[in-house]
């Protein structure tokens, strides 16, 4: 196996899980998320020679995924899900209160418009700084900061409302 193949395999095993979660929060759909991850790695293979430093791999892969998502969806129709319509994809925990809290948070995050959800997920899940988010999304840093601020304020409001969670377990 050549060096390029080894590098590629190492990236797949190191980042596929994280990328899937990122893709899920961008797309709101598990099948689309897997397709997005497949497309991301396909493009990553083609551009692998441009990745000079393995320490930059996380940012590089997330950027590819973000661009794949932008290519995939018409940005005039942001992907949002109604707050009450989601079925949970979380692991089942033993405490019902814990599950309800997680469901509420998932619904709240998914209810954000994509232009707010995207920088939020990049920061919280991807660990991107505001500068890195601005560079990846090709936005002014001030706009990124404003969107992060609004996203978190909105989440704070939604999560402080009385619980609208459906029962955690479906019969």
């Amino acid at each position: 196996m050549g060096n390029k193949e080894k590098r590629f395999d190492a990236l797949v095993y190191a980042y596929s899980t994280r990328l899937y979660k990122y893709a899920y929060w961008l797309s709101g759909d598990r099948d689309v998320a897997e397709d997005l991850v497949q497309e991301t790695f396909m493009r990553a293979w083609k551009a692998l020679d441009s990745l000079r430093d393995e320490s930059a791999a996380r940012t590089w892969l997330f950027t590819i995924a973000q661009r794949e998502n932008a290519r995939r969806f018409n940005r005039d129709k942001p992907v949002t899900i109604e707050y009450d319509d989601l079925t949970p994809v979380f692991e089942i925990e033993s405490s019902p209160e814990y599950v309800v809290e997680r469901e509420l948070m998932q619904r709240a995050i998914m209810s954000l418009k994509i232009e707010y959800r995207e920088p939020l997920v990049m920061q919280i899940l991807g660990g991107f700084t505001c500068d890195e988010i601005a560079q990846t999304l090709n936005l002014n840093k001030g706009i990124v900061m404003t969107r992060l601020y609004r996203a978190k304020r909105k989440l704070g409001e939604l999560l402080s409302k009385p619980s609208r969670a459906k029962p955690a377990y479906k019969s």
Binding site: V12, W25, R30, Q38, V89, M145, Y149, L155
Partner: protein
């Protein structure tokens, strides 16, 4: 010059901001520190929620498999181009089939199908014989006798035709059986990768793939299926 409003705004945006002025302002007043801590807790709570998403089993393996299938196609195209023949002409006159055993393409199709449907390996149902018979008859097959426990059975499109996807218990773990009417092959071949081992074997009018975990005894399952099915109704 930072004020309370600006500080709170920056806390919400990024409570882990390492800017010197921000850090000084945070430490200047217990109320600032408390507010920053609240935002850090909220950030971490969001992070926990975002991380707690079920990732499909076998994702990394499927990515690698698809990559390796693409690479094989790329290498074959390069080989054909270097032989001085257009790939489309070769495909049209069937020369590509002469240059590589057709079962290699089918092997790749089988592996990809199995990896795409890994979740079914966890099925623990007991498919009734009547249901199994109905599924088989929809592709022109039938049941001669009881094939033993079948944990999963469904129609699956395999390339251009419907096939039947079965999961049966093996000695080590679940075993996949793909019945592929119309996918004729010349000879039996071994099918194997890092995880699975099995065979691709001709059947009347088509072929059958049997795939189990490495170390599984495939032959007995193969013989049992061959003896249990009616291959043309």
């Amino acid at each position: 010059m930072m004020d309370d409003l600006e500080f709170r705004r920056r806390c919400i945006i990024d409570p882990f901001d390492q800017d010197k002025d921000f850090l000084l302002y945070k430490q200047r007043d217990p109320e600032h520190t408390r507010f920053a801590q609240q935002q850090e807790n909220f950030h971490q709570s969001l992070q926990r929620s975002m991380k707690r998403v079920d990732v499909p089993e076998g994702l990394a393996a499927r990515i690698q498999l698809r990559h390796s299938l693409r690479q094989r196609k790329v290498r074959r195209r390069i080989w054909l181009r270097s032989a001085g023949l257009a790939a489309s002409i070769l495909a049209a006159i069937g020369l590509a089939l002469m240059m590589a055993p057709p079962s290699i393409d089918l092997q790749e199709v089988v592996l990809e199908h199995v990896y795409n449907e890994l979740a079914h390996l966890n099925n623990n149902d007991d498919v009734p014989m009547n249901d199994l018979g109905a599924i088989l008859s929809s592709v022109g097959y039938g049941l001669r006798k009881d094939p033993g426990q079948v944990r999963y059975a469904s129609i699956c499109p395999i390339r251009t035709q419907d096939g039947v996807h079965l999961i049966v218990p093996g000695e080590i773990g679940p075993v996949t059986v793909l019945l592929m009417p119309g996918e004729r092959i010349a000879q039996r071949s071994v099918l194997s990768d890092e995880r699975f081992t099995g065979v691709l074997t001709p059947t009347p009018g088509g072929s059958m793939a049997i795939l189990g975990e490495q170390g599984e005894t495939i032959r007995s399952i193969e013989n049992k299926i061959l003896a249990s099915l009616l291959w043309a109704t």
